[in-house]
Symmetry: C2
C-alpha cells in the first residue's frame, strides 16, 4: 500500500468471525497486480443455482468491470466472483473491456462455470491498463483451494487504503428456517483517492429469485450505502453485489419469488442490518476520519428533501472541519440547510448536537449550555439533529469529519 | 480578527489605487461590533439619482440584510450603503430584521436620505444578535467625513478573514464619453468560515436606468462571481450591488434605458472585467489557498452541462487535494466528470494540465511526459482543460487548492 496508515481510531475493536455460509467458498492469492507482499485477488465460488442482484456507481464514466457486471446481471445467475485490488481498470477504454473479458475467460476455465455467470470487480489506480494475464494460473490455484471459512482472507485481499477489513453477519428466519446474511466491503472514501472504489459483496443462503433479490437490494441500499458520504466524491467503480446461494432450501426454507412476500420480513431486517453495518464501517475507515457523524433531518417537506438537506450538511467542508475542530458550529449547519435548495424557513429551524438544542426559531437557544455541548463535541460519535419545522419528511445519513490527515492522504498519494 | 493569517501567497503584489468616481464618497469607522483596533463599518454616500441593481445568495435561509436589500431593490434608487464586518446578522430571526431597520433609520438620519434608498450588508459571525444601536453617532460622523478617495479604507473596513483588500477598476466609453467602473469585494471562502459572506460593491458614473443595470449585472455575474468556488459552501449573506450614479451625464454621456442598447458594448466589457477581477481576487484569498486553478470544459452537450461539469471538478475535494499535492491526477478529473451527472463518454474524454494532454480517448496519453507535467504542477496558477467530445458547450470556472491550512483555519475558528 502507498500509505502505511495507522489503524483508524474508529475501527471496531474486534473483526467479526464469519461462519461458513452454505454454497459459497473463498480463496485469496497474490497476482502481483501492483502490491508486493500481500494478497491482491480473491475468488468466490458459488454453488449452482445462485441468484444475483447488484447496484452500481451512478458515474457517467463507469469502470470496465461495472459495465461487465451490469450486462451479466440480466441473466440473474452467478457461479463465481473475481475481485482484484491495486488496479481499478477504470478509464482504460477498449483495453479495459478486453481485460475484463480475459479475466472472465480465465475464471471460467478455472471454475468450469460459464463466462456469463462470472462477476468481476477491480479497485485501485485509475487509468492504468490492467494486465489480466496475471490471473492465469492464479485463479486455477484459488479455485482448488477455496474454503467456506476464508471470509477474512477474502476481505483483506480487496483492501486498498482501508486500514481494517470490513465484515458483518446477521441471522434471519424465512418460513421458520434459519438463514444467514454475511458480507464484506472495502472503501475508505466514497472513492478512496485514485484508489477508486467502494466495493461490497454480500451473500445469503436464502433461496430468493433474482428479481426479488434485486428489489430487496435496491431498497435496502437507500438507507445504508446510499446514505453515507466521506467526501462527496463518487467512484467510477462502486459495486455492491448480493448473491443468494439458495442452499437453505435443502433445510426446508421456502423458495421466495417476490420481494413483497410477507415471509421476507425478518430477512429484510437482517439484510438492512448487514448493509448498514458495512456502510458504517466504510465511513469509520474514511480517510483521516477521527469522528463518526450521524445527521438526522426531520420536519422537511418530504423524505427526499430531508435526505438532500442531510447530505448537504454531511458533505459541507465547513461543517466537517468544524466537527474536526470539536466546534458546535450551528451557523454552518444553517448555511448547509440553506444551500441544499430545499424549502427551509430560518424562523422554524431547530438544531441539536448530541441531543442538546443549540438553536431554535431563528435564534440561538438561550438555554444552551456551552460547556455541556463542548463536552459532547469531544466524543468520537457525534449526533446532529435538525428539524426543519415544515413537514413530515425525515432522513438519516452518516459521514466523518474532515481533517488535515484527509488532505495529507489525498494530497501526497501518488507523489 | 480571529486569525492573524499571513498574506495569501496568491495576493496581488500591489493593491490598485482607485481614482475618485463622480457621485460616490466613502468613509470607514470603528463601531466596535466585534473587532478591536480596526475599522468595522463603512458608509458609501451616493448622489441623488443613483440607480441600483443587485444579485444575492441562493440560500433558502438568507440573512436579514439580504431580505432588506431584495425588498428595497424594487425602488431602483439608492442614496447610501452601510456595511459592517464582525457580525453577519444572519439566523437572527425577528431581532435581525429589527436590527436592519434600526441601521437604516440611523443611516437615514445621518445622511438625510429616505430609508427606502438605504442599502445594508453585514458580514461576520452567524447567529449572534447585531446591536445596531452601536451605529448611532458613528454613521453621522462618517457621513460628515465621507470623501471620494477613500476606496481603500472602505475595502479594508469590510474584511473578515480576508488577508488583503480587494479592489478593481476599468474605463469604458459610452457614446464617446469616458465612464468608469470601480468596485471592491470581500470573501475568503464562498462563505468564509462562520464569518459568513462574499460581499461586493461596484460603482459606475455611467447613467443607466435601474432595469437595464439589473439585466447587465445578472448577465455579467454568470461568468464571474457565479463561476468561482472555494469550498462549494454557500453563504447566507452573499451580496453583490451595482450602483450607477449617472454623474457622467453632466459630461455628455447619454442616459441608457435598455440593456440591449448597442452603445453599452464597451461598458459591458469593463463591467465584466471588474467583476472577474474581483471574483479572481476572492479565490486568490481562498482560505489556505496556495494555487489558483482555472478549469475549462469544452465539448459538452450545452454550456450549462459544461459549467456543471467544470464546477464538479472545481468542487471535488479529491481534485483539490491532488492539486495541493502538485499531482497531475487525471483519474480524479475523470471521477469528477463522471459524478457531474451530465452526459460524458469515457472513450471521448481528453484532459490537459497546463496545455499538456495527459489523457485522451479513454486512455492515458502515451506521449505525455511526466517530468514536464510535474514542473507544470509546481506553478502557482494551474490550468486544467477537459474536452468531453460530445458537443459545443463550453464553460470556465476558477477555484483554489484544498490544503491542510484550510482545515486548520476552519477547524480552529471559533475555539
Amino acid at each position: 500500500m502507498a500509505h502505511d496508515a495507522p489503524l483508524s481510531p474508529l475501527a471496531p475493536t474486534t473483526i467479526p468471525e464469519i461462519a461458513p455460509l452454505e454454497g459459497v467458498r473463498f480463496a485469496a492469492g497474490a497476482a502481483g497486480i501492483r502490491y508486493a507482499g500481500r494478497t491482491d485477488v480473491m475468488l468466490a465460488l458459488l454453488d449452482e443455482g445462485t441468484t444475483v442482484a447488484g447496484v452500481f456507481t451512478k458515474s457517467k464514466c463507469p469502470s470496465a468491470p461495472v459495465d461487465w457486471c451490469r450486462a451479466k446481471l440480466k441473466g440473474g445467475k452467478a457461479r463465481a466472483l473475481v475481485v482484484n485490488s491495486g488496479n481499478a481498470n477504470a478509464f482504460t477504454g477498449k483495453t479495459g473491456a478486453e481485460a475484463v473479458k480475459l479475466s472472465a475467460k480465465i475464471a471460467a476455465a478455472a471454475t468450469g462455470a460459464s463466462e456469463r455467470q462470472i462477476f468481476v470487480a477491480s479497485t485501485g489506480v485509475i487509468g492504468e491498463p490492467l494486465d489480466a494475464s496475471k490471473f492465469d494460473g492464479v485463479l486455477e490455484k484459488l479455485a482448488a483451494e477455496a474454503r467456506p471459512d476464508a471470509w477474512a482472507q477474502a476481505a483483506r485481499a480487496i483492501m486498498t487504503t482501508d486500514t481494517f477489513p470490513k465484515l458483518a453477519t446477521r441471522k434471519a428466519s424465512i418460513g421458520g428456517v434459519e438463514v444467514t446474511v454475511s458480507g464484506m466491503a472495502k472503501g475508505a472514501g466514497m472513492i478512496a483517492p485514485d484508489m477508486a472504489t467502494m466495493l461490497s459483496f454480500v451473500f445469503t443462503d436464502a433461496p430468493i429469485a433474482a428479481e426479488a433479490l434485486q428489489a430487496l437490494l435496491s431498497k435496502s441500499v437507500q438507507s445504508s450505502f446510499n446514505a453515507i458520504t466521506v467526501d462527496s466524491d463518487t467512484s467510477t467503480s462502486d459495486t455492491l453485489l448480493l448473491f443468494a446461494t439458495g442452499a437453505a432450501k435443502r433445510r426446508g426454507a421456502p423458495k421466495i419469488e417476490k420481494a413483497t412476500d410477507k415471509r421476507l420480513a425478518d430477512f429484510k431486517k437482517a439484510l438492512d442490518a448487514v448493509l448498514l453495518d458495512l456502510a458504517h464501517q466504510v465511513v469509520k475507515d474514511g480517510e483521516g476520519a477521527r469522528k463518526f457523524v450521524e445527521v438526522t433531518v426531520t420536519g422537511a417537506e418530504s423524505a427526499k428533501a430531508a435526505k438532500r438537506i442531510a447530505l448537504s450538511i454531511a458533505n459541507s467542508p465547513l461543517v466537517k472541519t468544524a466537527i474536526a475542530g470539536e466546534d458546535a458550529n450551528w451557523g454552518r449547519i444553517v448555511m448547509a440547510v440553506g444551500k441544499a435548495g430545499e424549502k427551509a424557513d430560518r424562523d422554524r429551524l431547530a438544531i441539536w448536537f448530541g441531543g442538546v438544542r443549540v438553536a431554535h426559531k431563528g435564534l440561538r437557544d438561550p438555554a444552551y449550555d456551552e460547556a455541556e455541548v463542548s463536552q459532547i463535541m469531544k466524543r468520537q460519535e457525534i449526533v446532529i439533529n435538525v428539524d426543519i419545522g415544515l413537514g413530515e419528511g425525515a432522513a438519516t445519513v452518516w459521514t466523518c469529519d474532515l481533517t488535515k490527515e484527509y488532505v495529507a492522504i489525498n494530497g501526497d498519494y501518488r507523489s
